[in-house]
Subunit: 253 residues, 2 copies
């Protein structure tokens, strides 16, 4: 797959951006590196003259940007969601550097997947429930004494690594044929049914269900399930649910 068609499968998602100028600068950073798909999740002020001004010649990227109420909506069709984070995170996820993340993103795009690179709020980054939607975290190993990259600077580093990797790719890198990867929505459907099943088989036994679900989500997100595997697992869950219903009938006739 050639370079533009790979780039077309990779979107940048900015979540809760506070300063509209940063949206413009991010659009410019993207376009210089050949990326054009921008998704905005609940920006604080947008549209805004500062965004237009700082986009400079990347006004077309801004004009084509999509707006979403929450991150789940922005990544619903994505098969790989990478969340950029500062190091001290409370949600444990596999963590990659920018170069490794760029390679993952391109592999995914080359295999027909849809990739999101997600950047959080200027001050506070991504929230825990947003990180839960990510398959992996990307961390820019900045100076530990001053790791405060500007939002557009972080976008620039990731976009550069993507471009560098695209340019470095042999024209026809053979990617192992794979079943279509599961979309975000398919995975969330699986997780919802898993949560119901755990309840039905009385797995929690009074404990808070969050901890187990968090661990199971992490495991299955890391596994990069394909759509067929999601169907297989949901089939297993459906039978477990059926048994639980029968058992409920058996216990309380």
């Amino acid at each position: 797959m050639d370079e533009p068609s790979l780039a077309a499968r990779i979107r940048v998602v900015l979540v809760g951006t506070q300063h509209p100028g940063n949206i413009g600068s991010a659009a410019r950073a993207m376009k210089t590196m050949g990326l054009s798909r921008l998704a905005l999740v609940a920006p604080e002020r947008y549209p805004h003259a500062d965004a237009d001004a700082l986009a400079a010649g990347a006004g077309d990227v801004l004009a084509a940007a999509t707006l979403h109420a929450d991150l789940a909506a922005a990544v619903a069709d994505c098969t790989l969601v990478l969340g950029c984070t500062a190091r001290s995170r409370r949600v444990p996820l596999p963590e990659h550097g920018p170069r490794e993340a760029a390679a993952m993103a391109l592999d995914e795009a080359a295999g027909g997947g849809e990739v999101a690179l997600v950047f959080g709020r200027e001050r506070t980054g991504l929230e825990n429930d947003e990180l839960q939607l990510c398959h992996a975290a990307v961390h820019i190993p900045a100076n530990p004494d001053y790791s405060s990259l500007n939002l557009a600077a972080a976008v620039q580093v990731l976009a550069w690594e993507l471009r560098s990797a695209m340019l470095g790719r042999a024209p026809a890198a053979q990617v192992e044929p794979r079943d279509p990867p599961a979309s975000h929505a398919q995975l969330e459907g699986l997780f919802a049914q898993l949560a119901e099943t755990l309840d039905a088989i009385d797995f929690h036994k009074g404990r808070a269900p969050e901890s187990a679900m968090r661990k199971l989500r992490r495991l299955f997100l890391r596994s990069r399930l394909d759509a067929r595997e999601v169907r297989l697992l949901r089939g297993v869950l459906a039978d477990a649910q059926r048994m639980a219903r029968l058992a409920g009938g058996g216990e309380h006739p």
Copy 2:
């Protein structure tokens, strides 16, 4: 030589910068990547409140910046001078990408040399007589349809490549601690219980069980489960088996 002492031999030189805000943003980009030596050649407006504002927490880099009347003065003690340029140059110089340039700079610093990374004016770049002072040119292979990187963005890309190369030379890359991976025996125990559970919940419904088990094994092997995750999954399976027993009791009392 360790990372700070390598960084101490590398300076960023901004020539004829027009917008003082870009000087501040460049200082910030440098500091996030562990660079601290900034030299300013005939900036149009400096000092300036915009520079201070955009430097954010990198005010120390600005405060320590040296001011020079021309590029020759700023690089007088340098043993390697790399000039960042757009592609169409009129002075033929060996040209390198950012990664190659970063490796050259570190080699030079590690050998005891002094390195300058030189960035020209926002609109017009470096002049011919300035390029004549450079040992080589650095070119960021941007989108040919829109190659207009902001000055601070170009500094960010080069500074990131330097940092990445420095960290790559570090003796031991830090690997995130992880729970101990599951042993072969633990995984086989999980798969055996999974097979039993599929039987118990009547998942196969007359089909040969091998196909589903093969797919599930592949999925879980790929996930590189740790021992704790194996225990969690086996707990879920145990409850599903318990429900199946209760259901069996309900069906055939």
